[in-house]
């Protein structure tokens, strides 16, 4: 890496290739590891159906049950704010849309960049608050281990470096842009090895939950 431009070109070229391959293959392996296990057919007489309730739970589980909302408001609200903010920054920022279009061939309209910037600021603050909560809430602190903090870090760094890059807070620009892209590649590489997989497996978890309950006539 003789110049920052060389660094940028590496992370945007071979670095991206490596990260994308590890990410894709890793995610697919993890998914098939789960799904191929299958489940035995249920011989008890069904009261309701599986598919409808299963699909319904995939969506309705997004809404917190009122008791949970009262007892864990911070986890619920904070969780939504940073997830939605993260997704807005990832999918509705025009330079990212260009990236996705070049990789997957799909495109959609973006948001004004200064609006995405505001969302990013809120997301970063919320992520810090979530870390604070994980360190201080008795249940979360009890449950959390190295993997929980690692996944927080690899999620936080792309937000932080993206913000720094957009505001050009580190000179020269190829360096800070390269750091941002590198931080995303780290996230991609770490992803399949950790609980970050929930981003894909939650669909199946919610479906199984709703299906098994629906079969018994309960909407979960």
């Amino acid at each position: 890496m003789s110049t920052p431009t060389d660094f940028l070109l590496w992370v945007r070229g071979p670095g991206f290739d490596i990260a994308l391959v590890i990410f894709l293959i890793g995610v697919i392996i993890r998914l098939l590891e789960v799904l191929v296990l299958g489940r035995k057919p249920d011989l008890a007489e069904a009261r309701g159906t599986e598919m409808g309730p299963g699909l319904r739970t995939v969506f309705t589980r997004t809404l917190p049950e009122s008791g949970s909302m009262k007892r864990s408001p911070f986890t619920v609200v904070g969780g939504y704010v940073w997830h939605i903010g993260f997704l807005i920054c990832l999918f509705l920022f025009v330079p990212h849309i260009e990236l996705i279009n070049s990789t997957l061939g799909v495109k959609w309209p973006g948001l004004p960049s200064n609006l995405v910037d505001a969302v990013a600021a809120v997301t970063i603050v919320t992520l810090l608050a979530m870390l604070f909560s994980r360190l201080n809430h008795p249940v979360k602190r009890f449950l959390s281990g190295p993997e929980d903090y690692l996944t927080w870090l690899v999620t936080f760094l792309p937000m932080l470096t993206g913000y720094l890059a957009y505001h050009r807070m580190i000179d020269p620009y190829p360096l800070v842009l390269g750091l941002h892209i590198l931080s995303v590649e780290v996230l991609m590489v770490v992803f399949p090895f950790t609980k970050l997989m929930h981003a894909f497996t939650f669909i199946f978890a919610r479906w199984y939950n709703g299906a098994m309950a629906g079969r018994r006539g309960v909407q979960s």
């Binding site: 008890a44 007892r71 609980k195 199984y208």
Partner: protein
Amino acid sequence: MSGATLERGLNAFREQMNAPVAAFFSSCVNCGMCAEACLFYTETGDPKYTPINKLEPFRRVWEREYTIFGKIKSMLGLTKPVTDELLAEWEELIYDGCTLCGRCSMVCPVGNDVSYMIRRAREGFVAAGYAPDGIKNASRRAVTIGSPMGVKFPALQAQIKHVEADTGLEIPLDKAGADYMALLSSMEIINFPEYLEALARIFKQAGVSWTISSEAFEATNSGIQIGASDIARELVGRVVDAAEKLKVKYVISPECGHAYTAIRWEGPNLIGRPYNFKVIHILELLDELRASGRIKTEGTDDDRLTFHDPCQIVRKGGVLESPRNLLNMVTSEFVDMKDHREMNWCCGGGGGVSAIERAEELRLKVFKRKTSQLEELKVDKLVTACANCRLVMEEGLEEYKLEIPIVGLTEMIAEYLVEDKE
């Protein structure tokens, strides 16, 4: 047989792995929201009762043996194995501290059915020898005597004679070709004989053709509670054999929570085939009779009262509407708890907990959740439809010095039957 060993336990964990379990473990992000739905956490403040935490031994087997990366991590010495010490430490979390109520499964944001996993994880604990003595003994009695509380047929026979004398009605025994075969839980036979009497009177009025089998009258399934499918299969098999021998159309599951789970949902999967009869919960049957006009009641209970939804019947069982349809028929001042129906809170004694002597202090402590619900409503009476809940709640209300009488729903319906005005 070889007795319980760690290896048998690990083997059982391996057998219990399937796509739902793997999806659930993959998705947990340690958000802790399941703890806030579990009365064992909310009433003790001890994070070890967080539902997903109760599954740690099962989770380790999943990670180390069912994921490629987990296998690599193990080779590098980065994961911890399941040991006897771990299982010994976790025993009280997964047995004393969990009733399989399923509330956690309703709130997990990524959709994990934690209660489903706990049921399967118990298979490993029991095969390794780590179940509390109370439920071990209940299982032994259930298999050898036929009832976890040691109730033998003669004891039931005595009850039957009492009821026949009091009501002047016959309780048909071993009647082949009857439409319905009724099961009873030991708890009902010993503590709440009003249930049997209510059945006799209601079925007489409604003209229901029914019977009880002298060979298999016990509804409670200790095998489900201890988590040993092999034992559960043995116990449920007795009921199935009797029902199919008598060629009944339906088996009635009584006012006992886990009995319904056992016969309605687990049974066919345990024996490996569908039944030659259907299963109906007594409340479902009563609701059908009500809807078709075969039960006539007069008058209502005018006390301000509420209903405790037994977890295995309502949330886990799917008998959602019947209780309230029936209550609407015979009460005038019914109010629901804020968290009601599928989201009601467990009494704290199901799933075997009430059989564990050493868990009594914990069980009474977490009962505070139920008393909070009741105090908020300021009711004069409590109705429920599970004999175990009923006993647990009677003990709990006494502990907290709340004078609220508890009534069984079936018993309550019988009380207002028209024909039985004496």
